[in-house]
Symmetry: C2
Subunit: 221 residues, 2 copies
């Protein structure tokens, strides 16, 4: 049994939860607020980041470290293709959403709207929000191009790249900030991801003090 120390606004926490659900693993969650991490968390992860993955008394930290560990140690329900070249493409796209999307979109929108409010009690800076929304459109265009070519982001099969993109979007979707109707291919792709049993748990998430957008958990959004 895995214990995952996590929070709903942490995209990597959501990614690891969806991965474990896809792999039919049993796990329990322990909530920690990223803007108010306990000393215990810093002891477990000196980087002061979520999630923290604990199994059999072992502690694993770091986005790639946990993902690659899950993929290496579970024989079934693979989320990376078998060919190295195809694995590289899935990893390229996963990295795109984990880091590029995170820094260009998530930080400018979610950190402004959520982290800032709970960490400092302040309101979002509209200039920073606008940078985030402009960047979001650039990423949505890329997603729309990818989902026009193939059923899933890296080809015909569902992979880690889809999880990474979907969990990042899901947090923005909770806040009602994704312009789905301008990006039909992406909307169709996201409706497929949303319908997967592994995503069910994510759609029940709630962020303390912030109600989800009306269509957040709606499969026919």
């Amino acid at each position: 049994m895995v214990l995952l120390v996590q929070h709903s606004v942490s995209p990597v926490s959501r990614k690891i939860r969806v991965m474990m659900s896809e792999k039919k693993m049993l796990f329990v969650l322990k909530e920690e607020e990223p803007w108010n991490l306990s000393q215990e968390c810093y002891k477990l992860n000196p980087a002061g980041e979520l999630p923290i993955f604990i199994y059999d008394g072992n502690v694993l930290c770091g986005n790639q470290a946990i993902c690659e560990f899950l993929e290496e140690t579970s024989r079934d329900y693979k989320l990376l293709p078998s060919l190295s070249k195809e694995r590289a493409e899935v990893r390229r796209l996963t990295e795109w959403f984990d880091y590029k999307f995170y820094h260009e979109v998530y930080r400018n929108i979610v950190c402004e709207k959520v982290h800032k409010r709970f960490a400092h009690g302040t309101t979002p800076d509209s200039k920073i929000l606008n940078i985030g929304f402009n960047n979001l459109n650039f990423h949505m265009e890329y997603l729309d191009w990818l989902t026009e070519q193939n059923n899933y982001l890296a080809g015909d099969n569902f992979s880690l790249a889809d999880i990474s993109a979907a969990v990042n979007l899901s947090i923005l979707d909770y806040l009602g900030d994704v312009p789905w109707n301008d990006y039909k291919n992406t909307k169709l792709w996201y409706s497929k991801i949303k319908s997967r049993p592994s995503f069910k748990d994510i759609l029940k998430d709630s962020i303390r003090g912030i109600l989800p957008a009306r269509s957040y958990a709606d499969l026919d959004f």
Copy 2:
């Protein structure tokens, strides 16, 4: 034969070069300035990031994608341990230097001193530099603690984590910004890395318009 599109101030470019040298691979380099990327680069990598790894007409982009591909496809000279749990620790530390160190130190020092000058012709902001130097001391303390426990960052063996930390430090060292004498264990560890044949090429690097610090290529610094 691999063609690597790269630049000396890109830590990931340096990392891939050292990895390929450790693995005794043949490669040629093509220089591109990160602050002035060609249209050709954007076609090869829509993320607009270096390095770009080209072999047999295939194009691979993304830090983890290229590293994991190199590790998967070369049977000898492994840079990740064989046990999944130990691999997770190497990946955790690699990620630490690739992302945490990069955002907290590299961006505040190297981007201020180098990128800003060549991209915008402006001088560094001393407030941002100071944030970078403060953060650098925090990371040096962590490195000093790690290198006090073990010969290398993740244990007794040289790994990808050592390469990632060393290439990031090597760029700061070029600028003369690493306080080696305050961190004896880290200095000893870096002198071992610097002496490896795979690092020789890095020590010959030059950044246009900026002379290296006197001890940059000195093995007895």
